[in-house]
Point group: C2
Chain length 308, copies 2
Amino acid sequence: MDDRPQIAIVGAGLIGRAWAYVFARGGLTVRAWDPDAAVRDDLDAQMQAMVREAGGPADLTGRIRAVATLEEALVGAALAQENGPERAETKRELYTRMDAIADRETVLASSSSAIPASVFSSGLPGADRCLVAHPVNPPHLVPVVELCPSSETAPATMDRAEAIYRAVGQVPVRLTCEVEGFVLNRLQAVLLAESLRLVQDGVCTVQGLDDTIKHGLGRRWAFMGPLETISLNAPEGVADYMRRYGPTLARLADDSARGEAFNDSAAHIVAVAFPDTATPAAVRARTAWRDGELAALDAHLRSRASKD
Amino acid sequence: MDDRPQIAIVGAGLIGRAWAYVFARGGLTVRAWDPDAAVRDDLDAQMQAMVREAGGPADLTGRIRAVATLEEALVGAALAQENGPERAETKRELYTRMDAIADRETVLASSSSAIPASVFSSGLPGADRCLVAHPVNPPHLVPVVELCPSSETAPATMDRAEAIYRAVGQVPVRLTCEVEGFVLNRLQAVLLAESLRLVQDGVCTVQGLDDTIKHGLGRRWAFMGPLETISLNAPEGVADYMRRYGPTLARLADDSARGEAFNDSAAHIVAVAFPDTATPAAVRARTAWRDGELAALDAHLRSRASKD
C-alpha cells in the first residue's frame, strides 16, 4: 500500500494536466478523470511530452493514471482538483455528484478563476469541504494558488488544502471571504485599466507601458511584492512612506481609470502592438517562449531563496 | 582630447551617485557637482564603495570627477542629470541658473518623481531642452527611465536624451505629455490602493497579498509587461481576451479602491507586517538585500534577453 496522499484530477485539459504535473512532481499519486474518453486515452502521452518540455523527472508520469470514471478518481483521494468548464450550472451539477461520491474527508477544490465556491457548493451536505483553489496558468511554472472559501467552508478544510499545496511546492494564499476576482484578478484589473487608459490617451506606447513594468516595477515585484516594496521606499519604513507619498498616491488613485478603459479602441491599440499573437498558432508559439522564461525565472528565484 | 559625451551630475546624493555610476559604467565621462563641499569631497570614496558592492569595473571611478562649481560640471556636457531637492522653487532657481550657464545644446534632465518639467522650466530661454528623466531607485540596478516633456520640450531634446540613456544600457520610456505621477507611479498607485484596501478589509494578509504578486503576477511582469501578458491569455490574442474577460475586469475596475485606501489604519497594518523596517538602520540593511536581489535578477534577465 502506498500511503502518500492521493490526488484526484477532475477534468484533464490544459489546467488539469498542469495540476497533475504539480502533484506528481511533489511525489503524490494522481488519478485523473475527464468526461472525454479521447482526453483520458491521450493523457499519458501528454504528460510525457510535458515532462520532456519542462525537464521534469522521468518517473513523474508513473505517478499519474487516467481512470475511466469519476468514482475511481475520487475514492481515497485527499484532495480533488476540479478543472471543468467555467459555467455555474455545470459546476453545480459536478459538485453535487462529487460531494455524493467522495469520502467525507476529501477536499473538493475548484480551479475556477471567476466562480465563487458558494455558487457551486452552497447547501450541499459537504459544502464545508468545498473551496476555490485558483492557480495562475500554468501552475507548474507559477506557484501561487488562491484559496477562496465560501461562508460554509470549514477552517479545517482550508488548513488541509493549504498543507497539501505547500507540501508540493506551491504558495497558497488564504482569502477569508468571497470577493469577486479573488485577490489576483482584482490587482490585475486595476493595473490593466490604468495601462489601457494611458495607451489609449497616447501618454506612452504599448511598448513603453510594458517597458515601465518589466524594466521597472516588475523587477521588484518578482521577488518582494508591492507592500514590502514600499516598506523600503522611505528612510523610516512604511509609516514614513505614507506620510511622504500617501497624499500624492491618493490623488493618483482618485484619478485612476475605471471599467470604461476596457473598450474596443483600447483592445485594438494593444492588438496592433502584438501582431505576432493574432492567430492561435502564433499565441501557442509565443506561449511556449513565455513558459520557458517562467521556468528559467522560477529556477533563478529558487536559487536565491536561501539568501533571503 | 576625449570625445566621449560628457555628463554633468547636479546633486551628488544617493540618486546622483547612482546616475554617475550608470553613465561611467556606460563608458561616458562624468563631472559631478553638489552644493555641499563634504559631499563633493566624499564622492570618490563613495563611488569606490559602490563599485565594490555592485561588482562594477574598477576603472569606472576614473571616469567620474567631483568639481567645485556648477559651471565646471556643465561646460561641454551633452546632458545634465539633476538630482536636487523635490521643491518646486528650489528646482526653478536651479534650472534658471543651469539654463544660463550650460551650452545651448546641453540637455537638462531632472530625476524628479513628482515635479513636472513645466514647473521648473516654463518660460526659460532653454525650456525646449529641459525634461524630467525619472529613474527607479536605484537606476544602476533597475534600467527604466521615464522621459517626460513639458509642452515646450523639443522633440530633438527627447531624441538626444533617449539616445544617451539607451547608449548606457538604460531603457528610456517616452511620454508625450505632462501627466501627474508620469506612468510608473500611476501604475504603482492603483496597485497599492487596491492592495491596501484588500488587507484593510481583511480579505488576505499583507504576506498573502505580496505572495499573490511575487509568486504570481510578478513572475510574468518581470519579463513581459501587463499588456503582452494579456496578449497570451486567450487562444486568439488580445481581442479574444477582451471579449472573454473585459466585462469582468471592467466590473472589478469599477469597484476598485480609491485614494481613501491610503489611510493611517492601512499604513499601520502594513507597518506591523514588516517590523524589520521600522528604523533607518533596518531599512538600510533590508535595502542592501533588495539591491543584491535586483542585481541578480538583472543579470538573469540580461542572460535571457538573447533568447527573446
